[in-house]
């Protein structure tokens, strides 16, 4: 049974007076433990698809062309109908995000950046297990080769180190699904390759389910399967 099942997904953005249909009737699925690459050119709607699967945004209520209602199923549950607070919990517990521009909070050290997800998910209960979470964060950062940078701030790190910190942050709550949006897009080729290796290492050792959005066919080639997007539509393989 697929862990992620997307059907009839449409998304329209309003830009001034006009509306732009970014995703058109997208359907796809991801099996547990599978690594799927969503490949497409800039503006093809791949990041939007990732945001919808990750619960950062909601799809249109109906496909304007077919009239069908969309659904995004995670572990069998349709997340499109979740309340705002349950969607927040879904993002915090079940999904880990890795962004192209790392998106670390500049005021926090890298350990604090990694711990942020645990603090948000567990609230006051975090205090009771703070030592445990801290050890986990340090282990994740150590496994990313950042043991010597734990008390550093993001501004003191290289691009590759920042992205490894972001990967560690995405894994702090042991999510079932890792969503990576152009994880190597802001890095040079060599560093990008190392980051990709790190992601694939995680996948290999933990059997982590992941969806990697990329415009780079070499990156996509490292995945188990490729879903191609063009002008908001899935192109048959």
């Amino acid at each position: 049974m697929p862990i992620v099942e997307v059907e009839n997904l449409c998304k329209t953005y309003r830009m001034g007076r006009s509306e732009v249909l970014v995703l058109r009737n997208v359907s796809m699925s991801v099996e547990k433990g599978e690594c799927v690459a969503v490949l497409g050119a800039s503006g093809s709607g791949k990041s939007t698809l990732l945001h919808l699967i990750g619960g950062l945004d909601r799809p249109d209520r109906r496909d304007p062309e077919t009239g069908k209602s969309p659904s995004i199923r995670f572990g069998g549950d349709n997340i499109t109908g979740l309340s705002a607070s349950r969607l927040d919990t879904y993002r915090g517990r079940d999904v880990g995000f890795v962004f192209q521009f790392y998106h670390l909070l500049p005021e926090l050290t890298i350990v604090e950046n990694v711990l942020l997800g645990a603090m948000i998910l567990h609230g006051a209960a975090y205090l009771g297990k703070a030592t445990e979470y801290k050890a986990r964060a340090e282990n994740l950062l150590t496994s990313m080769g950042l043991a010597h940078r734990l008390r550093h701030r993001p501004s003191e790190l290289s691009g590759g180190e920042r992205q490894r910190t972001a990967i560690a942050r995405s894994l702090i709550n042991q999510p079932a699904l890792l969503l990576a949006d152009e994880p190597t897009g802001n890095l040079d080729e060599q560093t990008g390759a190392k980051i990709l290796d790190a992601i694939m290492d995680i996948r290999r050792t933990t059997n982590q389910t992941m969806i990697v959005v990329t415009h780079d066919s070499n990156t996509a080639a490292r995945a188990d399967r490729i879903v191609r997007l063009k002008d908001g539509r899935v192109i048959p393989a």
Binding site: L105, E107, M119
Partner: protein, 509 residues
């Protein structure tokens, strides 16, 4: 949880919140200083009014009334009354040793009973101190040193009795106890004590000798009174040269500068209020009248002190009603010889100072309102700073939403941040206000010396010193107000942050 972490990080890593904290600091300090000074001024007015008059005053100015001993006895027999004291008040003209003449208020009092009703023993200035004044670190207050010819206990006893022993006859002769500012021969120091001023006295050999003008040592004051008859016509001028036996310092400038205390019997003698013959017209008599009895000695006021603390507003009203009842019975017992209840003036300390207290209360409320409005600047400032910070932190908000933070959680980040700025700014503001208020008199003295600025004029504000106490209740109200203001200032930006679309926030550049 993450709100605490971010609040701490944002608070220590940004300049703008520190500026907001400084704005809150200044606003809270400003409001609390104003409130402390104005509130303290009102409190001093109330206390000083009672210091010299007790809780309830029975007054029949000019003519006065007799049988006051009976009235005092009746009053002191009542369960609500602690003690009562007869007093005479009139204006007088005094001549000072350097030839100056001043118009003053003359108050004739019976020392012991006056001390029971008022704080007379506390305000007598020249007496041995139990301990030096807090700011007199170098023990420069003359009261810390022995006197050359007198001793402090003698001076104190003289002050209480308003009399001085004549060394030639051994008899106690009446003296005066003027306010400390009356003679102009005492110089107030920054530390809060008085030094008798020094003058150069020419010697017969042409040289000079420096002597201090310590009035209780050898000073005299010529007191001139003009007793009036029942129609208000001046009878004659009465002059007495009286030795200064001590001086008092009530802290109320108007009294310290204009009031002179004398012994009750001396005041009665000088104002023709003592025992006199009672006469009626008799054309058959060679003088045109005949003596039919004796008029008792009179006083113009009887001061009453109630049991317990009646210093709160309205607390003396029950005592006033009781005094009215007692006076009614007293007037009934001496019908035709003392004024009835209707014309006699019976008022509480609050009634006596009602105009002044009302004015100061209104002025305090007005000033506080104005400064509280000014403090709204802090709210606007926090709002503006937070609005700008949230624009700056849009992407961070998107990240937190991506990590699972809800709208309420994001709002709390900023509300907690506002509370933190409010707490820090208000706490520092309270400390600043406390430092300013408790040192306001030295600061004011310094401003006067260094810049020639004198804001607190005792002739205008009645008191020699500026009130320098912070009321904890006022401090608490200002603190809560300061923190709440920041919370309110942070509220609108917090709502804005909470309503940001996560995807838009992440794409914000």
């Amino acid at each position: 949880m993450y709100q605490f972490l971010l609040t701490r990080k944002y608070l220590t890593s940004k300049l703008m919140p520190l500026l907001a904290s400084v704005a809150v600091l200044l606003c809270t300090a400003m409001v609390l200083v104003i409130w402390s000074v104005m509130g303290g001024f009102l409190d001093m007015l109330v206390r000083s009014g009672r210091t010299m008059t007790g809780d309830v005053i029975i007054a029949w100015p000019n003519a006065g009334f007799g049988y006051y001993d009976d009235l005092v006895e009746r009053l002191e027999a009542d369960e609500l009354v602690e003690s009562a004291a007869p007093v005479i008040e009139s204006f007088a003209l005094i001549g000072l040793p350097d030839g100056r003449q001043e118009t003053v208020m003359l108050r004739g009092v019976d020392g012991p009973s006056y001390a029971r009703v008022t704080a007379y023993t506390d305000i007598l200035w020249w007496k041995k101190l139990d301990r030096p004044l807090p700011k007199d670190k170098d023990l420069l207050d003359p009261r810390n040193r022995p006197l050359k010819t007198l001793d402090w206990n003698t001076l104190y006893e003289q002050g209480l009795a308003l009399s001085k022993m004549d060394p030639r006859t051994g008899e106690m002769v009446a003296g005066v106890v003027p306010g400390i500012e009356v003679s102009g021969f005492n110089s107030r120091t920054v530390e809060g004590f008085y030094n008798p001023i020094l003058v150069n006295k020419r010697l017969p050999d042409g040289g000079y000798e420096t002597v201090d003008l310590f009035m209780p040592a050898r000073g005299t004051i010529t007191v001139n009174t003009i007793p009036l008859d029942s129609r208000g016509t001046a009878v004659e001028t009465v002059s007495r040269v009286l030795p200064v036996v001590n001086e008092f310092m009530s802290g109320l400038y108007d009294l310290d500068n204009r009031l002179v205390l004398v012994r009750l019997d001396m005041a009665q003698e000088m104002l023709k209020l003592g025992t006199s013959e009672k006469v009626v017209d008799d054309p058959s008599h060679p003088d045109g009248y005949k003596v039919v009895g004796v008029n008792p000695a009179r006083v113009t006021h009887v001061l009453v002190r109630g049991k317990g603390d009646l210093g709160k507003f309205g607390a003396a009203d029950p005592l006033r009603r009781r005094v009215e009842t007692i006076y009614e019975r007293f007037a009934e017992a001496h019908k035709g010889e003392v004024p009835g209840l209707a014309p006699i003036i019976i008022m509480t300390w609050e009634d006596q100072n009602r105009t002044m207290i009302g004015a100061v209360r209104k002025e305090t409320a007005l000033v506080l309102t104005l400064f509280s409005l000014v403090s709204l600047v802090a709210v606007i400032l926090v709002l503006t700073i937070f609005w700008a910070m949230i624009s700056d932190k849009t992407r961070d908000i998107g990240i937190m939403r991506a990590l699972g933070a809800g709208k309420a959680g994001i709002a709390w980040v900023w509300l907690m941040y506002g509370l933190a700025i409010g707490t820090v700014g208000t706490s520092l503001g309270l400390v600043t206000a406390w430092l300013i208020v408790t040192n306001i008199n030295p600061i004011h003295e310094w401003m006067g010396e260094a810049m020639g600025i004198s804001i607190w004029n005792p002739e205008v504000y009645y008191f020699v010193t500026i009130p320098n106490q912070v009321d904890p209740k006022h401090a608490l109200i200002v603190a809560v107000g300061g923190v709440l203001s920041c919370f309110v200032g942070a509220f609108i930006p917090a709502v804005r942050a909470a309503n940001m679309q996560p995807v838009k926030a992440l794409r914000f550049e």
